[in-house]
């Protein structure tokens, strides 16, 4: 399977306080890729670099097989983009916005655009500047979809929208994807929302990719284990990755470990080290996401195991983890 988006070693430092650091990212063709990260982690910056709106200091990027920035017009003609902040001209009516936008996209589907406009209940004569936030969000999605793009890049498309509008917007996207097999790259910090329909997930924190893998693996790999008699130092050669550990509240001599790569039967390794596994808790995407962030930057995200704990750093991607295991 080829990748619709491929980023290798992307570096960008717009100021002193933030930098994207050798970012690697791959979005398989036809995937719905959830690009997760807390506010300020670099999601929007990555998207802007990807669409040629800023120049990186290093690295390579290809989108739909074409290189950024060399083939940008070809890429942008096949990409529907919904930015984080609405950017439409406020003086135009909905009809005028559609007329202007269609001029740039030869693949524009006028009939479908009109159908979406009616479905979204957008008045043709309404001025963009007077639309509600939800209506503007729907108009942006309409513009991106009616281009009939091969790739949809959605930057926090539902941020600040009410649940009804969110559902309208996401339903329209999913219907389009099921019809066309287009690739979707959607950034958000609303984790539970992405969990329902993404099949790939990447977690960005402070300009670095913490993890990138299929959603099912992400949801099944990160677990919370409650232990009694846990050794002070983790035994060498653990078959899983220990992301973090802390004392379990209200459990005498108990500890909670956050691990990745846990499989049934691994408790024997811990038993051999003198510990007893009391419980293995499957984490959903949101819990796994939070634990990943805590493990990556405990001083920021409130985990108790800082770098001084001596725990090994979490592998960044599936491929890297495999390389590490090999």
């Amino acid at each position: 399977m080829s990748n619709a988006i491929e980023i290798r070693g992307l570096s960008w430092r717009p100021g002193k306080s933030f930098a994207l650091q050798a970012l690697d990212l791959a979005v398989p063709e036809g995937a719905i890729y959830g690009f997760l990260g807390p506010n300020g982690s670099g999601k929007t910056s990555t998207i802007r670099l990807l669409l040629g709106m800023a120049r990186p200091q290093g690295g390579t990027m290809t989108v739909l097989g074409d290189r950024v920035p060399g083939d940008l017009p070809r890429i942008l003609a096949r990409t529907g983009y919904v930015p984080e902040t609405p950017h439409l001209y406020p003086g135009l009516s909905v009809t005028e916005v559609l007329a202007v936008h269609r001029a740039f996209f030869p693949t524009w589907d006028g009939a479908w655009a009109e159908g979406l406009r009616k479905a979204f209940r957008l008045e043709p004569a309404a001025r963009v500047g007077r639309l509600s936030k939800g209506e503007r969000g729907k108009l942006l999605i309409l513009l991106a979809l009616a281009q009939r793009p091969e790739l949809l890049v959605l930057d926090e498309p539902t941020d600040g929208l009410d649940p009804v509008v969110r559902r309208d917007v996401l339903t329209a996207v999913l219907e389009y994807v099921s019809d066309t097999r287009a690739t979707v790259f959607i950034s958000s910090h609303l984790v539970h929302e992405l969990e329902r329909f993404c099949d790939w997930v990447g977690v960005l924190e402070n300009g670095s990719m913490l993890a990138e893998m299929p959603m099912e693996i992400f949801k099944n790999e990160i677990k919370r284990i409650r232990l009694v008699g846990a050794p002070v130092d983790p035994p060498p050669g653990l078959p899983f990755t220990l992301l973090g550990r802390h004392s379990s509240d209200g459990m005498a001599a108990g500890e909670t470990w956050i691990v990745r790569g846990w499989e049934d039967g691994m408790s024997e390794t811990l038993t051999a080290a003198g510990a007893r596994v009391r419980e293995v808790v499957h984490l959903d995407l949101e819990e796994g996401f939070v634990e990943l962030l805590r493990a990556a930057r405990p001083e920021v995200w409130g985990g108790r195991n800082g770098p001084e704990s001596g725990l090994p750093p979490a592998p960044r991607t599936v491929a890297e983890r495999r390389r590490g295991e090999g």
């Binding site: 669409l51 709106m53 902040t85």
Partner: protein, 232 residues
């Protein structure tokens, strides 16, 4: 062509409320300039007196012609980028066009819109001069002055359009550079003459730059040349 038409439409939507009064002004200004010398006045004039009276009347209004051209160029240039800046250029940058194509088309749209006040000015000039009894030896130049108006607007439009295409930081840097040249260009040669090089001839960089810009073949010569609707 479809894209250009849409960019023209966008510019028109953004500037129409500013452009229409300017076009009206461009139409009315030549008429106002000759108002005092329209036929039917009470003074019995000889050809020489009439010519002097005409020149005097026109000269009173002359400074307003380049001023209006400047306002027209500036309005169109700044409105060209207004919406782009407000949206942080995100919309334009997400369109499948190379940046230079977008900028060129935007500039073309602005120049096309400049033709509205130009035509209004030309029409006003033609009407104004045709209503005059032009003394012997003088000629009306409504087309030449209208072309000067167009050229002057175009110069201002092009400069401000280029500045507006960049970020606010770029614009600030350009202004700071101009200011620095103005201040240092005047004070440094004077300081050197007073201290290290007493024999150095007086030199004012700012004055030199202004002369180069305002005189032929400087870009602003079009502002300082003749704007007389009626001349020898």
């Amino acid at each position: 062509m479809t894209i250009f038409r849409q960019l023209l439409f966008l510019h028109w939507k953004g500037v129409r409320f500013g452009l229409l009064p300017l076009a009206l002004g461009a139409f009315g200004l030549p008429l106002l300039a000759v108002q005092g010398v329209l036929p039917g006045g009470e003074i019995e004039r000889t050809s020489t007196v009439q010519a002097a009276y005409l020149f005097h009347s026109l000269q009173l209004w002359l400074p307003l012609f380049p001023l209006l051209a400047t306002l027209t160029g500036a309005t169109l240039a700044l409105s060209a980028w207004n919406w782009d800046h407000r949206g942080d250029h995100v919309y334009a940058l997400s369109l499948p066009l190379r940046r230079w194509e977008y900028v060129l088309m935007k500039m073309g749209a602005g120049i096309l819109l400049l033709l509205i006040p130009f035509l209004a000015f030309w029409l006003g000039g033609v009407l104004a001069t045709s209503s005059l009894e032009i003394p012997e030896g003088l000629r009306a130049y409504p087309t030449a002055v209208a072309l000067r108006f167009l050229l002057a607007s175009l110069v201002i439009f092009a400069i401000l359009f280029a500045m507006g295409a960049g970020t606010l930081r770029t614009a600030v840097w350009v202004l700071v550079t101009i200011l620095a040249v103005a201040v240092l260009g005047s004070s440094v040669p004077e300081f050197l003459r007073g201290t290290l090089f007493p024999g150095m001839p007086p030199f004012d960089l700012l004055e030199w730059v202004l002369q180069a810009a305002l005189g032929w073949p400087g870009p602003f010569e079009v502002m300082t040349g003749s704007w007389m609707l009626v001349d020898v």
